[in-house]
């Protein structure tokens, strides 16, 4: 049986009086490529942040690799591409190498020296994302697609089992998007990394992923990709999940 990497049960979350997630349950298994879609303000980013522990749920539970999120500390097993990284200031003085090595810093002791194997690992992940010739370049001078691949490299550097991405395709041109999707496909199939990705573009994402969660009015609905008219509840817990047909 495949491992449940993310397991959410009866989760609710509010911003003040505004309940944005209402009794949500879902799970993500090892090897999945999950797309999360929904209108603006449907709490997609909130759900992602709850999954990785950046936000705390009002009620319900979140488990990562079988551990309650509050106790989870195997940070090298998860990679996270935040919106913040994407929206960062182009004038920020950092090279591609510095940005990627940042993820390795956390594992070093306070006075620990940066080891040879770390430099090798940086070269390795840059090759995976086909950015090896950009190592010494300033990140602010790269295109949107190139930056995104560098951020993927940064997330990969600790060999994560799962990669969470918050709208990585924004600001990336169509050609780079195709390249990006083939990279994700490789990560998922060759490197067996579970992928969770928020996207606006249901047309494209539904062809790339194997599962889609749609957020609407505080609920999460899973689309059956094999039969677009049938909403599959097989993978979703509990009686709190409503059956719904809707067009996007």
């Amino acid at each position: 049986m495949k491992e449940k990497i993310v397991n959410i049960k009866n989760l609710s979350f509010s911003y003040g009086d505004n309940k944005v997630l209402d009794n949500v349950s879902l799970f993500i298994e090892e090897g999945d490529f999950v797309g999360i879609i929904g209108a603006n303000g449907s709490a997609k980013s909130t759900l992602l942040k709850l999954m990785v522990g950046l936000l705390k749920a009002d009620s319900g539970t979140v488990e990562l690799f079988g551990k309650p999120i509050e106790k989870f500390a195997e940070f090298n097993r998860i990679g996270y591409l935040s919106q913040t990284a994407r929206e960062f200031n182009n004038m920020f003085p950092a090279t591609v190498e510095e940005v990627i090595s940042a993820s390795l810093y956390a594992n070093e002791g306070l006075l620990g020296r940066f080891k040879r194997k770390n430099y090798d690992r940086i070269d390795e992940v840059l090759k995976i994302v086909e950015m090896d010739s950009f190592k010494k370049r300033k990140i602010g001078n790269l295109s949107g697609g190139q930056k995104q691949r560098v951020f993927i490299a940064r997330a990969l550097v600790n060999k994560p089992d799962i990669l969470f991405m918050d709208e990585p395709m924004v600001g990336v041109d169509v050609e780079s998007q195709n390249k990006f999707y083939s990279l994700l496909d490789r990560l998922n199939k060759e490197y067996n990394i579970t992928l969770v990705m928020i996207s606006h573009d249901i047309g494209v994402i539904s062809q790339k992923v194997n599962r889609i969660f749609c957020l609407s009015n505080g609920r999460v609905y899973e689309h059956d990709l094999k039969n677009s008219k049938n909403i599959s509840l097989n993978n979703i817990y509990g009686e709190n999940m409503n059956m719904l047909y809707h067009q996007h």
């Binding site: 522990g53 940070f75 996270y80 003085p93 950092a94 940005v99 810093y105 956390a106 306070l110």
Partner: protein
């Protein structure tokens, strides 16, 4: 002593500017002034009371920032108001004639004890930045990801607040409360124009800081000018020169 201040102010300022918190220097310097005034009234060494006041203010800013999550800059205004209000009351209470030297900075009034205190604390600050460099870089670049990579973000933030507070308090003696944030920001602004990496940006910031302080102090000695003003104007000239040379090159 001047060189130490010239190194720590832009080094701390570098992280503040990149985290868009450069105004924090202004806020804390006003609180430092209140602290110095309190020291004079109570016959305590003013730099010590200034350090105490700025550390309390730095924690206050962090606390208020969480309270006003969507209006984070409001926390700076509140603490700034408290600092100015407190300083003006304290100045009116007792013998605070020496306060001008804390307002605009003055080297001639610095004694040996002060030199030892400032150099000692300055070296501690530089060492701390060196030790925390990797974590501070990650947090400056992307705090959320740093947290998820296992960086103890909250603890480092609090510790960094203390560093900023102490830097402001001890820099006040040379550049003066009103001009500290300039020494934290102007060398950094010049370095951002030419830096190709994070490390080079930090080195350029410190280099511009040292050049500004050395030239500024020499000018203030021979031309009998206020040291703080001379330092800050030198930093400004360096910044403008960097911008002009860089624009011509491109």
């Amino acid at each position: 002593m001047g060189i130490i201040i010239a190194m720590i102010a832009p080094a701390v300022g570098y992280f503040l500017v990149l985290r868009r918190q450069s105004i924090i220097g202004d806020t804390l310097s006003h609180v430092a002034l209140a602290g110095a005034a309190f020291g004079m009234i109570t016959s305590t060494y003013p730099i010590y009371t200034a350090i105490l006041f700025t550390i309390i203010a730095a924690f206050g800013i962090e606390g208020l920032r969480r309270k006003y999550e969507n209006y984070a800059e409001l926390s700076l205004s509140i603490v700034l108001s408290a600092g100015v209000g407190l300083a003006s009351i304290l100045l009116s209470l007792g013998n605070t004639q020496g306060i001008l030297s804390y307002l605009f900075g003055s080297l001639s009034l610095v004694n040996m004890d002060e030199i030892i205190t400032v150099i000692g604390l300055g070296i501690v600050i530089l060492l701390t930045i060196f030790i925390l460099y990797k974590k501070l870089f990650y947090m400056t670049f992307d705090e959320e990801s740093a947290y998820l990579a296992g960086v103890p973000v909250r603890a480092v933030n609090l510790f960094f607040s203390v560093l900023v507070a102490v830097t402001v308090a001890i820099s006040m003696r040379i550049v003066g409360a009103l001009l500290i944030s300039s020494l934290m920001v102007l060398p950094v602004a010049a370095s951002l124009i030419i830096a190709n990496s994070f490390r080079s940006g930090l080195i350029y910031s410190i280099l511009f800081g040292v050049i500004s302080v050395v030239i500024g102090l020499i000018a203030s000695y021979y031309l009998d000018l206020a040291s703080g003003g001379a330092i800050v104007l030198t930093a400004l000239v360096l910044l403008i020169t960097t911008i002009v040379i860089h624009s011509k090159k491109n």
